[in-house]
Symmetry: none
DNA sequence: GATGAATGAGGGTTCATTCAT
DNA sequence: TATGAATGAACCCTCATTCAT
């Protein structure tokens, strides 16, 4: 009640109240942890460093997350969950397949490769085998939903003759494969041989769905 | 099995000499370490377990490898190095592209997916970012050589009209992508949705190079 | 139950004033702390749990007690102090020794064993060595007073020939010993071999002072 | 084999070999832990201090004991277990009850009160409630065996008329009670009022079994 | 060479205590 | 006065590495 007194109804830049500060801390911890986990891997990352990077005390982490593992899982959940809807939406849109392909490429380049989601997917790939629960969550909440949407659209494309390869319906992994490969490549070999991610994805799309105007 | 590894073909009962025993131990350690690293990841794997699995004392590991990291690097080196020649050879063979594609699929299924090389590649992908030296070795000794051979063959195919997509020469990653994807998928999601690796690779080859008889 | 603890006997609906509320909180904290200390021991008990059990915030504890140790000491003080008078009174009553013995047994069974005082005495025994101040308080305010009263009465009994063992005057501990033993036994071994506390105490009294009618 | 070379068949003061050194370390850890646990209680004792006191590194403790709790349990086991036989033997000896009583007093004063067993019994009393497994072990391997031997002898004494109180057969605790009380008293109040333990025990024996010559 | 007991730095986690609200 | 989020020192335990045998 007291803190409300500090909320100004007029000035937009009011001081954050306690709840907001707590939420901000939580976000800071998630961001810092993603950085550390990405840089060192789950096992080698130190919560001490996470705390330092987030600007909080070590104990504060445990106010928001049960343990290191829960923190890791929450990183994946909080950043990938909201993203799924966007992707499903894109697949459901009533647009030509070729246009859709371009949009998917753009979506990947901008919203995955251009953000920390890239790091999360990398983490998912690298640490997933040791976190079956997380892998299950990821499959259930992310992959299966995205693949379902993709399969539905691809089946329609097959029915209407937009595509001719039946295998694509069965293996939407073929659409994702260059993206996965790009994430891995850039993490390992970019300094030796830089990879133009957009071009790589575009090339696969061209091969799968025929040449289209560049997005 | 340990000490008998290098039995002479002539004298069946010759005891292995000291050098042979040492080499056998080294191999046992490498194999055990691969198992442990694969199962737990580099940071979480314990040299105690490696020693136990290899049937040697913990100290013995340090007689053969400077430290944990050197052991890891040696695993990759010793198992991938010899394999590169085989792949290069396949790409250089004077056979139709479609036949080559089938052979590459088979080679991957049999010699990578069916062996511990799958685990090494997975390890390379998951731990590589923390081992720049290793990534460099892998790029120099494995990837660039395989990609060079592939590019040469693809350029020839482009010249002779066997293929029409120029992008393939630029991005041989598109050929590797389904293999990488398969390795990751099976490590994470096979229990939810099993993946037929050969079919997946075959499908990509079909799309890239046109339908061919099953290998 | 919390705020209502001190309801006036006349005005049934009078709201407790601030002072009463504070005192009630203090009592709630003491009771909760006794529970937690009894269950886990001083070192392992968590003030978080004490606060939760008392229905107050963690910080509130520090408004009433300087620190964890002070809280512990105050538990002993507040529950044992008032009890001493009762015991002294019993020893001073002008009744036959055998009757007194029965009363002491009943007092112990009802007012110690049947209440949290049992837990306090146990705590005193288990944690006392680490809290010299508390042990001193306990000796000064509880034990020496009770023992003095007991010795006085026993000396009288010796003088009048009610008892013949001189040692009892010197070692009133012999009267307390079965009670102490019972508290420890029930805390450790009751599930293996339940102990009838009243019978045990009665038996010692019979041996010390001769058979008497059951209380 | 090499170390055996250092064993002299003639000189008795040969250097301890590896196995002996390990056993010595184990004993040192047990002794140090008993000191620390006695001084601070289980929860508050630091393994760091135990290691320092034992003259070993922290990790060494874990070569001999699974964890802090196992160390604690082993202290009790290793010091009390061997002692039980001695006590049983004393109870089974074919000697007059009064003589036996004197022997038991001496045994307690010398072998319990004069040794670290006193500390173990104290620890058992103070920490037992938090270690049900340990309490069970103690009941099964120590108490029930000692009590059985005591009950058998007391029943015989009852049959032959050596004693008249039937309650003693039922409650051998009455024999142990002064010992327990003495351990607690000396731990808490000896600086205010020192207790002559032998006299206290002797007095109870006198009351229970009649006056006897001092042992 | 081979062993495995010993080391001790390091990190995850807990929890008494503080303090801004 | 009451709150409970935040703090950070403390502590158990692990495990890569060493070294006496």
């Amino acid at each position: 009640m007291k803190p409300a007194a500090k909320r100004s109804l007029k000035t937009e830049k009011r001081l954050p109240n306690r709840e907001e500060k707590s939420a901000a801390r939580r976000e800071a911890i998630l961001a810092a942890a993603l950085d550390e986990f990405s840089a060192r891997g789950f096992a080698a990352a130190r919560l001490d460093d996470v705390a330092k990077r987030a600007g909080v005390a070590k104990g504060t982490i445990y106010l928001h997350f049960r343990d290191k593992e829960a923190l890791f899982q929450e990183i994946v959940r909080s950043l990938m969950g909201p993203f799924v809807g966007t992707v499903e939406h894109a697949f459901n849109a009533d647009i030509p397949l070729r246009t859709l392909a371009n949009q998917v490429v753009e979506l990947f380049v901008r919203e995955v490769f251009g953000t920390r989601r890239k790091d999360i997917i990398r983490l998912m790939m690298t640490e997933g085998p040791r976190f079956p629960k997380l892998a299950e969550f990821y499959y259930r909440e992310v992959l299966s939903r995205v693949f379902n949407a993709a399969r539905k659209r691809l089946q329609r494309a097959l029915d209407t003759g937009e595509i001719s390869h039946k295998a694509l319906v069965r293996y939407p992994q073929l659409i994702a494969a260059p993206g996965i490969t790009a994430i891995i490549w850039t993490g390992l070999f970019d300094r030796f041989e830089p990879l133009n991610v957009r071009e790589l994805l575009q090339a696969q799309m061209n091969i799968l769905f025929g040449e289209g105007r560049a997005s």
